[in-house]
Amino acid sequence: MFTSDSRSARIAQVCLSLFIGLAIWEIAGWQFNAAHMAPVFGSDVGVTRWIAELIAGGATLEEHPGTIPRLIDFAQEGDFFLALGQSLGLFCTGFGIAMLIGLPLGILMARLRLMRIGLESYILGLYATPMAALIPFILSIFGFQFWPKVIVVVLFSVFPILYNTLEGARSLKPEMIEVARAFRSSERRIWVDILIPYTLPFALTGIRQAIGRALVGMVAAEIFLNNTGLGGWLVDSSRSFDMAGVLGAIIVTTLIGVFLMGIVRRLEKRFAAWRGTAG
């Protein structure tokens, strides 16, 4: 069963792996001080307390608030959706701007040789620069309101998009453009019919990489600028040693990342056939 590839076996394997992971987390959560670690279900679910006390040799354990009950509480108070909305608003604005800059500029640079040669090295340099180091500058120049945070998200995510789009558009065979030229295609038609469809799968790879970075930028902005959204919830919880809150915030942020990357991965697969032999 463990090595079978059938669909039902795979589902069973994932369930088993999830169960083992949750069990380890739950037990670990009960073993440590409540200010250091929180279990999944915690005191609100009687069975896990019983098991944990059995493991601890019958001792009565202190209250351990669980992560899932904490998340449910938070959602019922409505604060959760406020935080989620703030974070997603920040993420979408920043990421949208990064795409609006990165995608057209990437294709344009592949098209204009001088511009590409001139800017390529600098873009690669910025790509390799840890953007986290620029947060103090943004804080002292622009302050800590919504738009400075958007700048952080843009900075974190624009370079992977730009770089991948550029590299993708560059790998287009010049013959294609030449043929289009020979048939007197206008520059607009070249973009719409050749450049954009050809570059799309490469750009999607960049977008997927950028999602991970943008999420780091989002949380960083919410932690280091003013505390709002999921990042703010994370810091507030950790300051009050509410470990269930910390773990809850971590899980929600991770789920957002997994979800968004999953969507883009699907799109990538869908458009993978568009990659020419060069891809």
Partner: protein
């Protein structure tokens, strides 16, 4: 790409001035560089507060900063954490990756978690790690390891999975012992993947180290930048950023050179990195 475009007037014996300019990559890069710095300088001079960094002032303070011992101590502190963290992530990641690549149960049980932790924004773990390790250098090291580990695991397991079947069959036919199969064959074929993974991990590790320093006020280059930017000494802080960028770029170049020299056959889509 060594192909240089033909100068504009190929028929003429001497190419035009414009043709010679456009034909030289170095000149074009230099011009764009000067243009960018010029726009930055003029823009900041006219439209920004006087404390905002601009290229001429950065150049001015550069020698002083370079001569400052605190700058080098901060740099060393950050780099050391990144190097040690990468080394730990490399060893740990190789072990887990090999296991996942060659043992099916391990893969099925761990895959979900490795991908989950890989997708998790590392900064989200920072508050938890500071609670566990205190506001200390250990917390920074833990952040670096956490940031780097999973790209190594994913790459090494891909590598171990792609060991050519023939190699394993030949090894079995000659009754190679387990140690040889694991280390001489599997690890060796996963090696270029490991290096590619470490290259990706290094960028994440550097970001992790800087974020940890800013978050927990740990001495290092991130803290140096924060302290200077706060004290309205942005030009000094920019020199710090330059050091981090130089480290990021040179590590990348080093790993690429290693791949090209010793593993010239290694080529694959680098879509997994972040």
């Amino acid at each position: 790409m060594t192909a240089v475009a033909k100068p504009a007037g190929t028929d003429a014996a001497r190419p035009s001035l414009w043709g010679r300019f456009a034909g030289s990559r170095f000149l074009v890069k230099l011009t764009f560089g000067i243009l960018i710095l010029g726009v930055w300088e003029i823009g900041v001079r006219n439209f920004a507060a006087p404390f905002v960094a601009r290229p001429l002032r950065v150049a001015e303070v550069f020698p002083t900063v370079i001569a400052d011992l605190a700058y080098w101590e901060a740099t060393w502190s950050t780099l050391w954490a990144v190097i040690i963290g990468l080394a730990i992530a490399m060893v740990l990641g190789t072990l887990i990756g090999l296991l996942m690549g060659r043992v099916k149960i391990a893969d099925r049980m761990l895959d979900f978690y490795v991908n989950g932790f890989y997708a998790m924004p590392m900064i989200a773990a920072l508050p938890l790690l500071t609670v566990w390790f205190g506001y200390s250098e250990e917390a920074r090291l833990a952040t670096v390891v956490f940031a780097a580990l999973f790209s190594v695991v994913i790459n090494v397991s891909d590598g171990a999975r792609s060991v050519p079947r023939e190699h394993l069959e030949v090894a079995a036919a000659y009754r190679a012992n387990r140690r040889s199969v694991w280390f001489d064959i599997t690890l060796m074929s996963a090696l270029p993947y490991l290096i590619a993974g470490v290259r990706l991990a290094a960028g994440r590790a550097l970001v992790g180290a800087v974020l940890a320093e800013i978050f927990a006020s740990i001495e290092g280059q991130g803290m140096y930048i924060l302290a200077n930017a706060r004290g309205l000494q942005q030009n000094e802080a920019v020199v710090g950023v330059l050091m981090l960028a130089a480290f990021g770029l040179s590590f990348d170049a080093l790993m690429n050179a290693v791949l090209r020299k010793w593993f010239p056959w290694y080529r694959r889509d680098e879509g997994r990195g972040k």
